[in-house]
Amino acid sequence: MSDAVLAIENLTVALPSWADRAHAVDGVSLEVLRREILCVVGESGSGKSVMAKAILRLLPEPHVRVTGGRVMYESQDLLTLPPAGIRAIRGGRIAMIFQEPMVALNPLMTVGRQTDEIIEVHTALRPAQRRQRVIEVFGDVRLPEPERILKSYPHELSGGQRQRVMIAMALALEPALIIADEPTTALDVTTQAQILRLLKELQARHGTAILFITHDFGVVAEIADRVAVMRQGKLVEQGQAGDVLERPQHAYTQALVAAVPSLSPRHLIGARSGAASGRPLLAVAGVSKTYSGRGGAFSLRRRRVPAVAGVSLEIGKGCSLALVGESGSGKSTLARCIVGLERADGGAILLEGSDVAGLSRARLRPYRKILQMIFQDPFASLNPRWRVGDIIAQGPIVNGTPRKTAHEEAAELLRLVGLDPKAANRYPHEFSGGQRQRIGIARALAVKPKLIIADEPVSALDVSVQKQVLELLDDLRRAFDLSMLFITHDLRVAAHVCEEIAVMKDGVIVERGATADVFAKPRHEYTKALLAAVPGRDWQLKTLAARKLC
């Protein structure tokens, strides 16, 4: 028992009366051992973040409050400590790293001063010594030129650098335990891989225990010593990382592990490559888009940001192409140019042979029936004040289908995407994220398009739901012989749904080919880096190999 840094005993956290369940955390007991990384895994709403916040008493009381249990740290209960006592522990003995470093850092203070402040509050060190210590920890987390970074404001740093600063702040006082709440979720894959490597290395060097909250089993495979799986506030399984990942006991864990999209690429189906079927459905040639913003109130020079710089691609009938890239690579801008939400500066967008680039909204209207879009955020993409049936029937009605027929078709579409046709009379807020995304898919299909552009359609969903939605998309694609341009940042998802893949970086396509070929023999450096950065890659390859043996 003496080996535990932190012992959570029977912790229960109550939710306010308007929430959908009574307890966010329900009787959870956990121990974080010395020198280990314990991963708490769960889908959204599993209570994992609330549990982490409860440890340091950061809950939004009185609405969300602890109603039972103890959190023992060095034989004192953190939940009953007086305010001064818990303040000494926060930051000093137990530090926390948050998900979104841009929000967690104060935008008006230099990051050096923010780190310095922590040392100032907790120790009696003199300014010169503190500065020395800050430079030391900045060097520790591999920030380039610590002296310069010290004087930077958060907005001057990249996302990865900001998260490194957060880690430096957590490390500044050599805490016994670091609580990391989804610290890499907001980062790009390559940055995420670097941060995970850094955390593991620092943990080994300093011997700090880490309580790591995540939803991604890939991340777990990369970093965890032990794993605890949470579902709806309850702990369903815990054990050594290897055991849980390879031989999950609980049915829920098994489902979660199975839902992680596998890295095995799809193969081309028959002779369905774009070139074979004559004229491609969509051909994009040399499209570019540069955003220009005002530099400042009085600046004459305009800031120009090239988002897409001369991209060409084509999609044949019934083919699907995954456009993969990290944030800022221009993949979404390209999609918005193709559907006409954004006007391309140059180049041609040929839809069934006719150029739609630069057409006005009114002139584009006839082409809407060929081309539809599925959006990323299932919560923002449905009008909260419209009934589901009206949302789906909207497109056909605009295009001249009689109202009654359109609604009948909407009910049919709902059945097709796996929802009850009666759902047509309800409002979007009555549905879960996955169900809403199904409604979004039904809406896109309503005008019977030939090409669907899906902009990160599953990135806002939990893995288990993600899998179902991807399977649905796949089935529908076959059933309607649809072409699809699938935009994603996740190579695993791309591998799962598309036969062809195009990798985009800084506004240009750096590599393009059949998914299987790209995965087997990536040619461009960046593609190699992306593939190497996929979290849990080794674990997946191992399980794949094991499966093949069977």
Binding site: P16, L341, R361, R365, M373, S381, N383, P384, V398
Partner: protein
């Protein structure tokens, strides 16, 4: 929606305010029945104190204060509500178009609304009434003219954020035209701040109307609370009730409307208040 009404009515301040407002509206509607004679008719000797022959006494010309108060409620509420409706309608149009189209249209419309906001609103209202000649309709026009810019700004801000949401983009991709998108998709989602701002505007309109009437710029043929205070202010020492009673009526009504507006805000955005 049910929880909205529960939150709204369970607020004691809202409940009390609603009781008062219901009372005032009932009085205003039933004014010809409650006080059949003209409020300008001389009915007794001047300065008779309250609780005599007339419940609230008479003014310097011998007109019943109560009759004036009853008809005044009618004038004040009618002018305030009409002016607010006009301001909300105009402000919503301007704000929605500015927010939805952006660019030069936005710049132009917002500079115009700023032009209106830079003129001290009450002085502007006085000038407008003076130019248009005092009457009920010119009061409505003057109050609406000085009240629409805040509405336009609120609506523009809401439209700007809603326009960026994906369901609006989905409507564009579906091929819907601009006006149906603006009216059918965007504006319904901007309703709650609009309702709150609009309700607070009614209180403001009552105050402007009273102040204009106090200065003698009200509608000459309509009795109003501001006019009563203006007429009674010279006799404050001898006949305190002439000023106090309509003053309290204005105070309670404006306070009630503000509390209801605040209650609406709390009920429409429950999380904002709780967390």
């Amino acid at each position: 929606m049910q929880s909205f009404w529960r939150r709204f009515f369970n607020n004691p301040r809202v409940a009390l305010s609603l009781v008062w407002l219901t009372f005032i509206v009932a009085v205003a509607v039933a004014a010809p029945l409650l006080a059949p004679t003209s409020p300008f008719a001389i009915v007794a000797k001047p300065f008779s104190p309250p609780f005599g022959e007339f419940l609230l006494g008479t003014d310097s010309l011998g007109r019943s204060l109560l009759a004036g108060l009853i008809h005044g409620a009618r004038t004040s509420l009618l002018i305030a509500i009409l002016a607010t409706l006009a301001a909300v309608a105009f402000g919503t149009c301007v704000g929605a178009i500015a927010g939805f189209y952006g660019g030069i249209v936005d710049d132009l419309l917002m500079r115009i609304s700023e032009f209106f906001q830079t003129i001290p609103s009450f002085i502007f209202a006085i000038v407008l009434v003076a130019i248009l000649a005092p009457s009920g309709s010119s009061l409505v026009i003057a109050i609406a003219t000085v009240s629409w810019p805040p509405i336009a700004r609120v609506v523009r801000g809401e439209v700007l954020t809603i326009k960026a949401r994906e369901f609006v983009q989905a409507a564009i991709v579906a091929g819907q035209r601009d006006m149906p998108i603006l009216v059918g998709q965007v504006l319904p989602n901007a309703l709650s701040p609009l309702i709150v701002t609009g309700s607070l505007l009614v209180a403001n309109a009552i105050l402007i109307e009273s102040a204009l009437s106090f200065l003698g710029l009200g509608a000459p043929d309509l009795m109003s609370w501001g006019f009563q205070i203006g007429a009674g202010r010279a006799f404050l020492r001898d006949a305190w009730w002439l000023v106090t009673v309509p003053g309290v009526a204005i105070l309670l009504t404006v306070l009630s409307i503000n509390l209801v507006g605040e209650g609406l805000n709390d009920a429409l955005n429950p999380r904002l208040r709780d967390l």
